[in-house]
Amino acid sequence: MEMSKVNADNRAVIEDLSISFPRPGDEDLLVVEAVSFTVGVGEFVAVVGPSGCGKSTILRVLSGLLSANGGTVLIDGQEVSQTPDHVGFMFQKDALLPWATIDENITIGAELGGVPLEDRPALVASLIDMLGLAGFEKAYPKNLSGGMRQRVSLGRLLAYQPTLMLMDEPFGALDYQTKIRMGRELLRIWEAERRSIIFVTHDIEEAIRLADRIVVFSARPARVAAEYIVNLSRPRNLSEMRGNAEFNRLTHAIWSDLSMPT
């Protein structure tokens, strides 16, 4: 593989990315301006920024659902023009097929991820087990709570065998406790499998709790306002973390970045 421009340790390289949307009868709306950052192999990167700043838009470009106006996006050294291979997406909305059972919804991930037919049932069963969905295999999404639906959504994402997971406020619609628990489970899975993650959130505490590195975006048009490495040992415990000096330093720094005028 051609790796000239790219550090071999990078899963994704976003360079000088600009995105704007055409508006009828008005000049184009600039949503993302000259954004650059990288995601290492097996790295957990959180993207924090004010609501509506264009965080989600960047993920859509990374997954090939949207094309950028300027700059380059490389995934595993390949420029993204169409939907790249093994880049999985998870939305704030579960986006489960309402007419498919939990089993079938997760199987779709395995099927599209190229898992051989004979290996799918075992893979799906192990994911269902791991995500605490046992007993709900034949249930339909309408019978599940919001938290469980997001587990299924995560199961489908993992079944797809992604090397890069794009997560767009995946726990944003959940209640606080469920959100904490889901975050913990995500970390457990990530620590076992080490897939790269870009995790978009507007919850600073969540970002610090989960990520190796945090990229802070400004209000629209999104620019990289700051980048922080989270120097907190894992596993991270929420109650211990709250008294930690590094945690407080990061929280304050990111807070002031976000309230900074643009």
Partner: protein
């Protein structure tokens, strides 16, 4: 955390009289309504209105029985059901793909819209004389009549169904590199199945109208013909018997669709 359907248990140790045929059950209430209406009709014919005008249920039952015995019931019912069913099916087969196509071709849809709505608004029963001319007085003209009655229902419903597909589902599929055929199979078709079933529900009555109107204008068989023939002979019992049979067909067909819905739409 999970909210799986729960069954509320019956309080133990008590068997109420109503538990055999509870009044609260829909079937029981329907049966009561049916008998009340029949009784009111019979009473009216006995004491208030000459049965020449509105016949009476007992006469209709006797007519049904004699028609069943001499084979005329089957002779007329079978042909009308065939016409309506063929028209309904043809309408589904033509209308649904057209609707899907229009939903995916906004320009074409926009262009054709006023014309579609014009044809849809046209009282299509008025086409019957023309259809007799074009397709003869046989089966085909009636099938085409019932087809024109239902095709727009399928077209408009499936177009609307495709338009209301959750774009997030499509995006998610695309993010996992699902091919368009796969997306159609997993997202588009399941999403419009409820709309197609609803079209069948609406289409049952309309396809019967098409078949009967076709028969009224020119035919020698079918419930429409039977009703018109009876009317011509001032045989109100005959007219009402034909109407009752049509109503029963519509009700049975509706029940069948309801059964299909209960099986296919369990996820709702």
């Amino acid at each position: 955390m999970a909210s799986v359907d729960k069954v509320t248990p019956m309080p133990p140790g008590r068997v109420r009289l109503g538990s055999i045929m509870p009044l609260s059950s829909v079937a029981a209430r329907r049966l009561i309504l049916f008998f009340a209406l029949v009784a009111a009709w019979e009473f009216t014919a006995e004491f208030l209105v000459n049965e020449f005008w509105s016949s009476r249920p007992s006469e209709i039952v006797m007519r049904l029985f004699s028609m069943l015995v001499d084979g005329t019931l089957w002779r007329h019912t079978s042909i009308t059901v065939l016409e309506a069913f063929a028209g309904l099916l043809l309408g589904a087969v033509v209308g649904t793909p057209l609707g899907i196509w229009l939903a995916n071709a906004p320009k074409a849809s926009e262009t054709a819209d006023p014309f579609i709505m014009g044809l849809y608004g046209l009282p299509r029963v008025a086409l019957a004389p023309l259809f007799i001319l074009w397709f003869g007085i046989g089966l085909l003209s009636k099938i085409m009549m019932s087809f024109t009655m239902v095709v727009f229902v399928f077209l408009l419903n499936s177009r609307e169904g495709v338009r209301t597909v959750d774009p997030d589902l499509v995006d998610l599929m695309r993010s996992m590199r699902a091919k368009s055929l796969y997306r159609a199979r997993k997202v588009l078709i399941p999403a419009i199945v409820p709309w197609i079933l609803a079209s069948f529900r609406l289409g049952i009555g309309l396809s019967l109208i098409g078949a009967v109107v076709g028969e009224l204008v020119g035919s020698s068989r079918g419930l429409g013909w039977y009703i018109q023939n009876a009317g011509g002979m001032l045989d109100t019992t005959g007219v009402f018997t034909g109407l009752v049979v049509l109503m029963v067909i519509a009700m049975l067909a509706n029940q069948m669709i309801a059964l299909v819905e209960a099986r296919v739409l369990r996820w709702r």
